[in-house]
């Protein structure tokens, strides 16, 4: 009963903060509410007994990536006045893309079956050991491929940041 109340509170918080991200005029507020959103999602992870995932989510997303995002937004000094005027063509393109995404989401939602929520019985499910074991046995290939992706991104960043000779 108690966990159900917490679940609904967290869900409401995450949906509300996600809406603020989209609708807020001030980009700083968007970033901050995105952080709140990440926190509530981390709360969901904890409810699913995946503490490791929750804390890594907070460290990586809230602790590192969002700080960099906040950095950029603060330094760019985005105001409503300095925002460039968007042409009608871009607006139409945006509406079309958004509609397509919506359509895909709706289609995938219609065909998918929502799984019945089962509270995890195995308490060791979310620990470092189990996550590590499944990453290095069952999901070894995707894990390595994603690390190659990160390496290539890093090399790309270094190349971009390097001075022209």
């Amino acid at each position: 009963m108690g966990s159900e109340i917490i679940f609904y509170l967290l869900s409401a918080l995450s949906i509300f903060s996600a809406l603020v991200v989209v609708f807020s005029k001030n980009p700083i507020y968007s970033v901050l509410s995105l952080i709140v959103c990440f926190f509530s999602i981390a709360g969901h992870y904890v409810m699913l007994n995946a503490q490791f995932l929750a804390i890594v989510h907070i460290i990586v997303y809230a602790g590192a990536i969002m700080v960099l995002l906040l950095f950029t937004v603060m330094l760019l000094n985005l105001n409503k006045e300095s925002e460039p005027h968007k042409s009608n063509l871009i607006k139409v393109a945006a509406i079309v893309t958004g509609g397509l995404l919506m359509l895909t989401l709706l289609a995938s939602l219609r065909t998918s079956q929502l799984p019945v929520y089962v509270s995890p019985t195995d308490l060791g499910l979310g620990t470092v050991q189990t996550v590590g074991k499944s990453l290095f046995t069952d999901y070894l290939l995707p894990f390595e491929i994603s690390s190659i992706l990160f390496i290539s991104a890093m090399i790309g960043a270094v190349v971009l940041a390097k001075k022209e000779r």
Partner: protein
């Protein structure tokens, strides 16, 4: 039910102790600074000036509260709050002593023994950046913004090396991230496998390099000299808290001392055996368990106070780094060093176990 009451009491006590130690750290800092410079330091409020923190607190509360007109008011207030909350939150996973036994029930002197303890500490510390960034940006002052940017990029950079150096300890601890099990492991077994002093199996004897890296990163995370580029009075007026006044400034300064207290506690738990001390098993034989438990708490606090003193000692010895030196040290020295240390630790562990 009694467990809930005990935990609530424990949280309250830890909260009060953190604040008390932070308050007296400000006094200790001034006193130590004075002593290292052949001065006396504050000695007017009470005998030897021990009431000085109270006087400082009253002064902070009574100062005029100034919120700049051009600042973002909500974020301006939110900044110090976040910084203070994250500073206080870290103490939840630190094991403060051996379990107490009250009327047959054992109570752990730790608020939450979660299986990701040290990651929790790193995660909460990484959130402390927000307090600085939001405060610095909301001030709408270029010095504050520069200070905030310096502070946050410094904290992000050193977090990586810090996490890497901790991994070596985790490897030695059979992959358990719980601070409690780490401290317990340091209290059992023989040092290097043959020196038999109970409660002396400390990680610092196995991992001096990791300790050094962690210590340097702790200095950087707490924005202490030689890494106090976030504040650097001589270049940035006061850094991210330039525009702050009254108790909001007080919160920033206070939270910094709490950070120092917590990082001293984490260092003693990770590398110096936490509440363990040489001869602990002998004392357990001759004294009742609760008294040994209290002694272990006192020992942990002794270690913490030593490290706080060490932080201050370093501050009044070493001058500030230049910013490019800071970044070079973090990325080109500490990061590779901690990765090499981690690899060597893993190799040696595999060699020993086979």
């Amino acid at each position: 039910m009694t467990l809930i009451i005990f935990k609530t009491l424990l949280i309250l006590i830890i909260f009060l102790i953190s604040l008390g130690i932070a308050a007296y750290s400000t006094y200790g800092e001034r006193k130590i600074a004075a002593f290292l410079q052949d001065r006396i330091g504050p000695d007017r409020a009470g005998p030897f000036g021990i009431l000085q923190p109270i006087a400082d607190g009253v002064k902070m509360f009574l100062k005029e509260e100034i919120i700049p007109n051009v600042s973002n008011k909500w974020l301006f207030i939110l900044g110090p709050c976040i910084f203070m909350v994250t500073a206080l939150m870290t103490s939840a996973v630190i094991p403060w002593g051996l379990p107490l036994e009250i009327s047959g029930v054992k109570y752990n002197l730790q608020v939450a023994d979660i299986n990701i303890g040290i990651l929790y500490v790193l995660g909460v510390v990484s959130l402390g950046v927000y307090g600085i960034m939001i405060g610095g940006w909301a001030s709408n002052n270029k010095f504050a913004l520069l200070g905030a940017i310096r502070a946050s990029s410094q904290m992000i950079s050193y977090e990586l090396a810090m996490g890497m150096s901790v991994i070596a300890i985790l490897l030695m601890n059979d992959g358990s991230l719980s601070l409690n099990s780490m401290v317990e492991n340091q209290g059992t077994g023989k040092l290097y496998g043959f020196i038999n002093i109970s409660g002396m199996n400390w990680n610092v004897f196995y991992q001096p390099v990791a300790f050094l890296i962690f210590l340097i990163c702790a200095f950087a995370e707490c924005n202490r000299t030689p890494f106090d580029l976030a504040e650097s009075e001589s270049e940035l007026i006061g850094g991210f808290h330039t525009e702050y006044s009254s108790m909001k400034l007080g919160l920033y300064l206070f939270a910094e001392y709490i950070n120092m207290f917590i990082s001293a506690a984490v260092i003693s738990c990770l590398f110096f055996g936490g509440y363990n001390f040489p001869g602990i098993s002998y004392l357990q034989e001759i004294l009742p368990a609760n008294i040994v438990s209290l002694i272990s708490v006192a020992v942990l606090f002794g270690k913490i106070i030593f490290f706080i003193f060490f932080f201050m000692w370093i501050r009044w010895t070493i001058p500030r780094f230049r910013y490019d030196q800071l970044m070079r040290l973090g990325w080109q020295w500490l990061m590779p060093l901690s990765i090499i240390n981690m690899l060597i630790t893993g190799a040696v562990l595999i060699w020993i176990r086979n």
